[in-house]
Amino acid sequence: MMLTQRLSKRFEEVHSRREAALIGYIMVGEPEFSRTLEYIGALESGGVDIVELGVPFTDPIADDPILQAAHGRALRQGVNVHTVFQLVRELRKNSELPVLLMTYYNPICRLGEESFARRCSEAGVDGVIIPDLPIEEAASWVNQARKYGLARIFFVTPETDNERVKRICEYASGFVYLVSRYGTTGPSETLAPTVLPLLERVKPLLPEDLKVAVGFGLTTRAHIEAVVRAGADGVIVASALAARITEGASPEALADYVRELKAGTRRTV
């Protein structure tokens, strides 16, 4: 089965508009489960090109305290993989926004990789990001994701040497998630000094059909402009959005912030 058209088409569209894709994150269950769809709508209306939905987990080891708190709130509301699928099905009734799931591996392991991939595909999910599944453990997942046409998004970090980047490319599809710095997710005042050299090093190693999106710490329009100028095909904003939702931002206020971020993705001549 081909990779879902929604994701590759979206990258083509933004590319033809001389933009990078803005990938916005929201934990399912934020600010409360009954309002998550409304907030996804706000992200989309503000200019998010692809949405990344967080699946809550008790032990999110790659997440900063803002997102950890969101995991906890979602779990307390009873959000789980099934409610996430239900929400995506609901979204799909009137939206073609590409959807990625960000989930730790244990919920996938619990349901079974095949079953998880099938349900993703049935619900209308376009790809899956698994922060604790490196390529060493990913062979069977990659087969299932391939079978169900899901993008297989793997990470590349400042610690990943060139040879390993090439191996990761063999497992990946859609895009690689370039981790801007050491540590967990989390908003940042300044752009990490590691990110631009990393992007410069990794970009030439990627096959033509594999995009690169930068995440971890991107908080301002200026951060986004800098990585887009350096050649990023996409930018991922998670904690900075989550922080605003946590602070009680209305959908309108959130959309305004997204608009500001989206402006940073436009390539100037």
Binding site: P56, F57, T58, D59, P60, I61, A62, P65, Q68, G72, L75, N80, V81, H82, Y105, N106, P107, I108, C109, R110, L111, P131, D132, L133, P134, E136, E137, F154, F155, V156, T157, P158, E159, T160, D161, R164, I168, V179, Y182, G183, T184
Partner: protein, 403 residues
């Protein structure tokens, strides 16, 4: 004609595991990409350095002169009379410097950290014993130690927190999640991901991503190796049963592993009934390894409740997961109440205060010995001493008196 090279057997013996970082279907490296190069480097350095004569001789000397090894294998005469069955021996890991088996591993890994040029060492601790051991090992080797500890564990293991601080290490309270060992490991992993170029993560149990379960086992196997030699010299035979408590499972794997090819030696692992990943869990992934995990139907990790902070953990080392699946070891649970009974029994019969963790093994070992023949031998690993738990035991007695 050249002799044919026999084909390598398709299934390796248990003693040859892990293969490719896995114990059968268990183990592996389920961690963020940022940590993978560090794990590969650790494995490479460990394989190269740990077999070197200078490393082994320095470790051996530290264990002997600093740590107090070998620890005695003690024939518990009055406990045996009480049980009125098999003869009971205790492997006295409570007599290791610091008061528990934890130093065996901490010294080994601290030497590795120093060899890798990493002067900042981080660790998690539940009962505080591993934290104490890491603080000691880092002090004696001139390294800087920072210890993550759940706020709930800090509350109930205050004496160990003070010891860690007096030994020059920093304690970082962890207030996320259940505020116990599991959350301390989460926080240590986050720190490691942030500081991986400068920092060595010194895991305390046979858990986590490969190569940690292997490294911890190799540094803890001194328990089983010693007791095997001691019993052979004294009784000219192997034990019928070896017993150890299992939280993450480091003292148990250290006790069992040297006997894994001795098929007649039975293994009994004792979990806390409120934190029994092997007895009540299902296959999942936590802290980098596929293993048995306490979890709900959607894969959320369960909260645990044990009177012994060192057993209060919802997963278990992957090698135990395989031993369970293959039936090589038997795993049972002991309740808080029964552990307290084991505590009192050992105190009154033998004049030894066991840690509440080890008290689980004492209780189960005595129960089992009662049903065995007089010419049989049970060895229980007494993994730690009980001074750290006095407050918990006394409070418990006070509550019981009120009711």
């Amino acid at each position: 004609m050249a002799a044919k090279i026999p084909a390598k057997p398709s299934t390796p013996r248990l003693s040859e595991l892990p293969v490719d970082g896995h114990f059968g279907e268990f183990g592996g490296q389920f961690v963020p990409e940022i940590l993978i190069p560090a794990l590969k480097e650790l494995e490479r350095v460990y394989k190269e350095i740990s077999v070197r004569f200078d490393f082994q001789s320095e470790l051996k000397a530290l264990r002997a002169d600093y740590g107090g090894r070998p620890t005695p294998l003690y024939f518990a005469k009055r406990l045996t009379e009480y049980a009125n069955g098999a003869r009971i021996f205790l492997k006295r890991e409570d007599l290791v410097h610091g008061g528990a088996h934890a130093l065996n591993n901490a010294l080994g890994q601290a030497l590795l950290a120093r060899a890798m040029g990493k002067r900042r060492v981080i660790a998690e601790t539940g009962s505080g014993q591993h934290g104490v051991a890491v603080a000691m090992a880092c002090a004696v080797l001139g390294l800087h130690a920072e210890i993550y500890m759940g706020a709930r564990d800090i509350e109930r293991q205050k004496a160990n927190v003070q010891r860690i601080q007096l030994l020059g290490a920093t304690v970082h309270p962890v207030t996320s999640g259940s505020q116990t060992l599991k959350d301390a490991i989460n926080e240590a992993l986050r720190d490691w991901a942030t500081n991986v170029p400068t920092t060595y993560y010194l895991i305390g149990s046979a858990v986590g991503p490969h190569p940690y379960p292997m490294i911890v086992r190799d540094f803890q196997r001194v328990i089983g190796d010693e007791l095997k030699g001691q019993l052979l010299r004294r009784e000219q035979r192997l034990p019928d049963l070896v017993v150890a408590c299992v939280g993450g499972g480091s003292n148990a794997i250290g006790t069992f592993y040297p006997f894994v090819n001795d098929e007649k030696v039975q293994f009994l692992g004792v979990e806390s009934s409120g934190a029994a990943a092997l007895c009540h869990g299902s296959i999942g992934v936590l802290h980098g390894a596929k293993t048995f995990v306490l979890q709900d139907e959607h894969g959320s990790i369960g909260e645990t409740h044990s009177i012994a902070a060192g057993l209060d953990y919802p997963a278990v080392g992957p090698e135990h997961a395989l031993y369970k699946k293959l039936g090589r070891a038997e795993y049972i649970t002991v309740s808080d109440q029964e552990a307290l009974e084991g505590f009192r029994l050992l105190a009154r019969c033998e004049g030894i205060l066991p840690s509440l963790e080890a008290a689980h093994a004492i209780y189960a070992g005595v129960q089992r010995a009662q049903r065995m023949k007089r010419d049989q031998i049970v060895v229980i690993t007494l993994s730690g001493r009980g001074e750290k738990d006095l407050e918990t035991v006394v409070q418990h007695d006070a509550h019981a008196a009120l009711e």
